[in-house]
Symmetry: C2
Subunit: 466 residues, 2 copies
């Protein structure tokens, strides 16, 4: 039994800031001088140093100064085998897949290549402060195996699964529904709930899935109801149109997944740019999750996710945020927050009525504003809720797994320290509000350079080379 402590300035969330319009700080928790006590990687106690310190006098305590410690970031949608083709030039979703993505993903059939890809992928995540991801792999099992194996060696919590596609892909990349079913069964037995691995039944997207493949997913979910389901939904107009041509009996994109019994708790659909209000409502009612990937939606030109609509209390959908590397061009969830803020602001110029009075909706516009509270909740506690792992991690509550990131609010480009000094002339934040304002500077002016350390299960796995 290894009991240790970390003393420093802590910031996390106990509730959803979208539930506290006008008083978002109520959703957050801030300890200017806190202590996190961990036993074997789990949080045993969390409170002020003043209160907890004397009770844990004998343990080894690491004192981290001039930093803000947050729960580790959660990337709800990322593609392991696109690590090397991040930022590939010039195409929208469908031609981009054919030109850049499938040829690279094919390489992951070779174990050595997959192993190198996994290593670089997890290194890049940890250097970005991301401690948990929900990842797509490839249509061949090698990449999935290597990802779970390496994540287990690093003791990282990862949700992933063999990524099935049997249509609209090169012949030597597509798989059959039979192989997909058989390989998924084997991988579930081998990796689901082993170490910190969680298995997601993963049909790549409806446009790449025959009814037989989706039926295999249905059977897998029925036979393994505690598995996750991860896919894409309503990302790009041409994709949406293709799906409705392939599934003419379905009135909309979501209906395809509903038809095969996949939509419910632990179901994630990436993107959702073109989801209708009705689809949002059905996702909300079923407990399904949409994963917002703004860097990707900009980079591939897919469109503007309607964040203020998805967070409408009338049909509040669970939401995680994701990089969608390589559709997204950055590994850092801080860059995701930068672009997510911009998506919200662009939406709001439509919603303020200045271009079209008929579209005026100030309540929706308010929900589009990605305050630092909403932003950092979304990539910590909110992401955990979206991925149904909030019983395990996402904030510093006792019993949770001790994954956290140590942020340097001045760690980014040269312009950052003076900007931040407008909030605090010297030293770290003393109030919750100051901390939130500094965090907005981290996401809009800073980047992964602000990630000074990343800890997983109470162990430091990344330290920035200052």
């Amino acid at each position: 039994m290894r009991k240790i402590g970390v003393r420093g300035t802590f910031f996390d969330f106990v509730d959803d800031p979208w539930k506290h319009v006008g008083a978002e700080a109520q959703a957050a928790r801030f300890l200017a001088d806190g202590l996190l006590v961990m036993t074997d990687g789990l949080i045993e106690a969390f409170g002020t140093y003043e209160a907890l310190g004397p009770r844990h006098a004998g343990i080894e305590i690491t004192h981290i100064e001039d930093r803000i410690i947050l729960p580790g970031f959660i990337d709800g949608h990322i593609h392991l085998p696109q690590t090397r083709v991040v930022g590939a030039y010039g195409e929208q979703l469908l031609p981009w897949l054919q030109k850049w993505i499938f040829p690279e993903e094919r390489k992951y059939r070779e174990r050595d290549y997959a192993r190198e890809g996994v290593r670089r992928f997890l290194d890049a995540l940890l250097a970005s402060g991301t401690t948990t991801c929900q990842a797509f792999t490839t249509s061949s099992p090698v990449a999935t195996e290597e990802l779970f194996e390496e994540a287990a060696r690093r003791n990282m919590r990862v949700i992933a699964g063999l990524t099935g596609i049997d249509r609209n892909a090169p012949a030597d990349y597509a798989d059959t529904p039979e192989n997909f079913y058989r390989d998924s069964k084997r991988l579930i037995a081998e990796y689901h709930k082993k170490a910190r691995g969680l298995y997601a039944i993963t049909p790549r997207f409806a446009l790449g899935a025959s009814p037989e493949l989706l039926d295999a997913c249905r059977r897998l979910k029925q036979e393994h109801p505690d598995c996750w389901i991860n896919t894409h939904i309503a990302e790009n107009p041409a994709e949406c149109r293709g799906v409705l041509l392939d599934y003419p009996d379905c009135p909309d994109y979501l209906a395809v997944y509903e038809k095969f019994g996949l939509v419910g708790p632990k179901f994630s659909g990436g993107h959702g740019v073109y989801l209708s209000d009705g689809e949002f409502r059905r996702m909300a009612e079923s407990g399904a999750t949409v994963v917002f990937c703004p860097c990707s939606n900009f980079f591939l030109g897919s469109g503007l996710f309607r964040l203020g609509r998805a967070t409408d209390p009338e049909h509040r959908v669970r939401i995680a945020f994701g990089t969608d590397v390589g559709g997204g061009n950055r590994f850092s969830m801080l860059n995701v927050l930068d672009d997510a803020y911009k998506v919200g602001m662009c939406n709001n110029t439509m919603l303020d009525g200045s271009l079209d009075p008929g579209r005026k909706d100030l309540a929706e516009a308010e929900r589009n504003k990605l305050s630092p509270y909403r932003a950092f909740w979304s990539i910590t506690r909110g992401g955990a809720e979206g991925l149904y792992i909030d019983d395990k991690l996402g904030n510093f509550t006792s019993g949770n797994e001790a994954d956290f990131v140590v942020l340097d609010p001045n760690g980014g480009p040269m312009a950052q320290p003076w900007r931040q000094s407008l909030i605090r002339e010297d030293g770290g934040p003393r109030t919750l509000e100051d901390a939130a304002s500094l965090l907005f500077g981290v996401m809009m002016v800073g980047d992964d350079r602000c990630v000074d350390e990343t800890w997983v299960m109470g162990k430091r796995l990344y330290k920035k080379n200052n």
Copy 2:
């Protein structure tokens, strides 16, 4: 007379890539092993090391390896006194000005504060590889004076001018047309064409300018016809509507500036998100320039600049790119290219006809695609053309001022080197096409960390702390 050389891999432009659709490489120039010979900060010769080296055997040569050397970046639109409020939360243009910007800009009436701001501003530019900017200052002369003085000490080419506003600003920030005219006259005499300074008559924007202020600008331009004119145009829907209410005799935004004789060569209008085809055409015919500021247009939610429309050969407008700090949230022109690419891709999902067949325009969509050629041309040679300083700088042609940036294509986040290795397994680029592909990785996956050195007039002013 000080003659020196720099040997390395060089990349610059001899023509506009938009004129070479399908063969953009023809606009670029690449020397895998080149030599730049400089005398007193001016380029004396540029060619292969093989050809030039023997002819310059006696001079001191700095050999820069594993890097790509480009002309210094040009930021066509930036606000000096917003350096500290970069990334300020939550508002569109007009309320953002009132809440965050005017209170900060007011501080620049104090010389000490202005001096610190200028120092940090130019430091941030150099660390981003930006060697020339066209800057807004404030309504009081102090900031303008300090900017020209410090730029002269660093020997940097800067275009700037007292920034006039006499409406829609706090009473203690707004100035009178008489003061503006008098102070501008004095500053022109003091700083225009002194050291590398160039003076821009700078009415902030039409919404902040009375007819009397714009008339003062007209007189200044008549009396100093070789001065520049810098302002904003058609940034935000509410701003545009306000301008047309203030100037009911003008049919559109551009007409306000036309009415006062300001539109022509050396006129820059920042943003232009809501310019009509007719306004583009009139700007093109007059030789005026629009400055595209994508980070800002996203950050303030202003909208999507129609790059493919502005570059229509039927009415090709001169274009520079700008950060628009603090409306833009990043000092680096590489981040500007990241967001500019995204703006183009978002436009294209409208133009491919998948959402609205009536808007299909594939030629315009092609022009929206910000290839690395178009991108780096726009922030070097193209920016120089836009600002009418291409007789002085922008590429490595003999006679030009030797401002350049040394890029490390692997200098960005942890994920970058493996991404770049897909193009070149080891060493620097050997072909123009490889260099362009690496540069796309610099702009979409890298950032200012890729700026390893920045040289101004043949002198190294910035070196990254590796």
